[in-house]
């Protein structure tokens, strides 16, 4: 742990004044339009404040004026990297509120594509995190893998990034013709690639000295703040919604949950790398056992969930993404509230960064894996 003593000298000539530094909204390393106001003593961070809202688009307000099936394309744009997961949480919330019975094949295909999206999101995280710390090559390699996943998405959904993936009650189209062979080819090649990334980074002394002991948070503190996802599991807390409250086809899947120990940046890195391997395992099982049948439930002509409120959350790549839906019985929801994992994870930034150097703040923002689309909505 990087211990820092802030000098308390009586000699006023030596006391350097604190500097306020603005890592502005336009910055190559703040993964979106995040403004971080740092108070520095020399190079050590004493205080940190985040200024968000640069990407606020009023999603929740927009949702109040749209019909339930029209809201799904907007939900892709929350965490635009994990659009498929966002679509899934919306669709599942409405389906469960209405009591629809989604067929098993749809659940399996949803699982496969959501796990592919998890791998894609983690690859982007890996690329940008390594880029910030200086290993540029990993970014390009990770994007090459991502490209394969996005091709599968394009062939299945029609769009690469903001796929309007799911419909209420199932899927718009069945899996395309080459779906199984494409997915199998991807998961065949993928472990080699992961080994390549780990060869360059895992034992690398420069990577270790930039990430071990940086941004440490203990398990109790993590639960107190409300962290979720790999940020929580890196601190050793065993909580994964895919296991605790299985949704889609996760109840049938057999996989492990990686847990870190120290709660530092390196552990979160290892947890996410291992999660990619476990995702691959889930996809392998799902594609081997893919059932036949319809992909759509019987859905009423007009989607009007019963009056009441409902909360449903899934394990997105960045954490627990949830949707709290209050319905007044009409075709448009009364209120929709997103439980944004990145927003809640970002609250830990101050606690993680104080005492570290400025160069570490960049690494910590990277390890929390934030996407401003979700933070600002």
């Amino acid at each position: 742990m990087h211990q820092v003593e802030i000098a308390t000298t009586q000699n006023t000539l030596l006391d350097s004044p604190q500097m306020t530094l603005n890592m502005g909204p336009q910055h190559p390393s703040t993964h979106g339009v995040l403004r971080v106001i740092l108070k520095l003593d020399g190079e050590t961070v004493i205080d940190l404040d985040c200024d968000i809202g640069y990407l606020h688009r009023g999603m929740e307000k927009i949702a109040e004026n749209r019909m339930y099936n029209m809201i799904a394309p907007y939900w892709d744009r929350l965490d635009y990297i994990a659009a498929v997961s966002n679509g899934l949480v919306w669709v599942e919330t409405v389906e469960q509120m209405m009591g629809l019975d989604v067929p098993k094949r749809a659940h399996y295909i949803r699982t496969i594509l959501t796990e592919l999206n998890r791998i894609a999101s983690h690859l982007l995280w890996l690329g940008t995190h390594a880029l910030d710390i200086g290993a540029v090559t990993i970014l390009l390699w990770a994007f090459r893998e991502r490209e394969e996943i996005l091709k599968i998405f394009e062939r299945q959904f029609g769009a690469r990034l903001t796929c309007h993936a799911w419909r209420i009650g199932g899927m718009p189209n069945d899996a395309y013709d080459d779906f199984e062979s494409d997915v199998r080819q991807f998961i065949h090649n993928f472990p080699n690639r992961l080994d390549e990334y780990e060869t360059v980074l895992n034992e690398n002394r420069i990577w270790l000295s930039r990430t071990v002991g940086i941004g440490v948070i203990s398990g109790e503190d993590a639960i107190a703040i409300g962290l979720s996802g790999p940020a929580l599991r890196g601190s050793g807390v065993a909580w994964d919604i895919r296991k605790a409250r299985p949704y889609a086809a996760y109840g049938d899947m057999d996989f492990d949950v990686p847990l870190g120990e120290n709660g530092d940046t390196y552990d979160r890195y290892l947890v996410r790398m291992e999660e990619m391997r476990q995702s691959r395992r889930i996809i392998q099982q799902a594609i081997d056992n893919l059932p036949g049948g319809p992909v759509n439930a019987k859905v009423p002509k007009l989607i009007k969930p019963p009056v009441g409120d409902y909360y449903h959350s899934i394990e997105g790549p960045k954490g627990e993404i949830g949707c709290y839906l209050v319905s007044d019985g009409t075709q448009q929801p009364w209120r929709v509230r997103v439980r944004p994992p990145c927003f809640i994870n970002l609250q830990a930034l101050k606690r993680l960064s104080i005492g570290h150097l400025v160069a570490d703040v960049v690494a910590i923002i990277g390890t929390l894996d934030i996407v401003l689309g979700e933070i600002d909505r």
């Binding site: 530094l21 190559p28 390393s29 190079e43 599942e92 469960q96 209405m98 009591g99 390594a130 880029l131 910030d132 710390i133 200086g134 290993a135 540029v136 090559t137 390009l140 390699w141 090459r144 360059v200 980074l201 034992e203 690398n204 002394r205 420069i206 990577w207 270790l208 000295s209 930039r210 002991g213 065993a238 296991k243 605790a244 409250r245 299985p246 109840g251 996989f255 492990d256 949950v257 990686p258 847990l259 870190g260 120990e261 120290n262 552990d267 290892l270 947890v271 291992e274 019963p306 009056v307 009441g308 409120d309 409902y310 449903h312 007044d328 009364w334 150097l357 400025v358 160069a359 960049v362």
Partner: protein, 442 residues
């Protein structure tokens, strides 16, 4: 035929010039000008195409293509870049110190290019001037480049540029110390400060000083890379840091001068490393095949190509390191310079001195013959060479031991075992998330 004509050209030009000027003018005024022109052109071309090579090599490492559009295979890309930078708007920040702002990039470029005056590209006429304090000249002039950094940061009138400049210059100065000390080991075997003399020592002994001084070579290279602010030591100018460092406020042609100065400094470090450790323009069998048969100019040209190839390999090392390794944080960087490089350089001097002393002591002892001559460097017999190489290898292990001893308490040294393996847990499955039939009232 054309090649032979080319190789005969110097003689032809020489005779032509002697018709018009006195011999003294030709030898001391005109030829130096021609050499300077040639070297500056070659270096500037080398620098420009080093940028092209960097882009291509980085692209191949990253499974992409690099510049492909401008010219065949993108070969005209540096020219396109240069033209673009020339036509950019040239503005100066409002309260900047104008004259200092103008001068700083030029100082950087000049400091990097002037060093090429003493670097021996080949024997005989392929070195502009063979100053007999060549090594000292190189170290002194390349230090002038640091001044340019500070002037640039100061004159920009920007808080962040100044901080970046101070950090860059502190880093460069720290690594210059170990760079200078690392050279001393090679000098003990070369017995002269003149760069041509050192190459001559390696040539006459048919050895590369790399074999006597592996530690020195490594220290020199690492310090050289840190000198040039190149990855993995490029935090002061990395974009993910606060600013672009000292050249934040520079744009257009002035920025391109800094860029050229950085690449020229890279070429200087690789050239000096080649000269000191990799045998410079010497390569076995070249002398026998060319000079001994009377083809003097061919000898020089082939030696020139050998030198450029060796320097090119070291330049590839620069690019390779940049695109593989992450960046050091600034405090880790300074830690490396003062607590690892400097003690290693000092240990290198001590062990090399003991090695040379042993060689001199063993000479003539019980009929063992280690030193052959001391005219052109420390000429050693094969026995002597074996002893010297053994000292070089022992130096490696000794340095490893002492450095671990000095740094055993430091945080970064203990990381490898500090990191834990993550554990895979198969959590018990909970109840699936299904909707209750009746939902609560809002």
């Amino acid at each position: 035929m054309a090649l032979i004509a080319l190789l005969a050209a110097p003689n032809f030009i020489d005779t032509l010039l002697l018709k018009f000027f006195s011999e003294q003018t030709v030898n001391y005024v005109i030829w130096p000008f021609i050499q300077v022109g040639a070297v500056v052109t070659i270096t500037a071309g080398w620098v420009a195409y080093a940028t092209y090579l960097e882009r291509k090599i980085s692209a191949f490492i990253q499974a992409r293509l690099g510049p492909m559009r401008v010219g065949p295979w993108g070969l005209l890309q540096p020219i396109a870049d240069g033209l673009k930078l020339l036509v950019k708007e040239d503005f100066i920040p409002e309260n900047a110190d104008r004259w200092v702002f103008f001068v700083a990039p030029y100082i950087a470029v000049v400091a990097a290019f002037v060093v090429m005056a003493v670097v021996p590209f080949g024997p005989d006429w392929a070195v502009i001037t063979d100053v007999n304090i060549g090594v000292l000249f190189v170290l002194a002039v390349s230090s002038v480049g640091v001044l340019a950094l500070i002037l640039a940061g100061w004159s920009s009138n920007s808080k962040y540029a100044l901080l970046g400049a101070l950090r860059s210059s502190a880093q460069m100065v720290s690594y210059e110390v170990s760079m200078g000390l690392a050279i001393i080991g090679a000098l003990m075997f070369g017995r002269t400060l003149s760069l041509s003399g050192i190459v001559g020592a390696q040539a006459s002994d048919s050895i590369w000083f790399l074999l006597y001084q592996p530690v020195g070579f490594v220290i020199f290279l690492i310090s050289g890379i840190a000198e040039n602010n190149r990855a993995p030591f490029d935090l002061p100018e990395a974009e993910s840091e606060l600013v672009a460092g000292f050249h934040t406020e520079y744009s257009g042609f002035r920025w391109s001068l800094f860029f050229m100065a950085e690449y020229a400094a890279m070429v200087v470090v690789t050239a000096v490393a080649t000269t000191l450790y990799l045998g410079g323009w010497y390569f076995p069998f070249v002398y026998r095949l060319t000079e001994a048969k009377g083809y003097h100019n061919a000898y020089v040209v082939v030696s020139l190509i050998v030198f450029l190839a060796k320097a090119g390999l070291l330049l590839y090392l620069y690019f390779w390191l940049r695109w593989t390794l992450p960046r050091f944080r600034y405090d880790q960087l300074m830690d490396l310079g003062w607590k690892w490089m400097l003690p290693a350089a000092l240990i290198n001097i001590v062990v090399s001195a003991i090695g040379v002393g042993t060689l001199q002591g063993l000479d003539g002892w019980h009929g063992m013959d280690t030193i052959r001559s001391v005219t052109s460097g420390l000429g050693l017999t094969p026995t002597g060479k074996v002893i010297a190489i053994a000292f070089g290898v022992a130096n490696l292990f000794l340095t490893a031991g002492i450095l671990s001893l000095i740094n055993w308490r430091s945080r970064d040294f203990n990381l490898k075992k500090q990191r834990s393996k993550i554990r895979l847990v198969d959590l018990p499955k909970g109840k699936p998330a299904v909707a209750p039939v009746a939902v609560s009232e809002p």
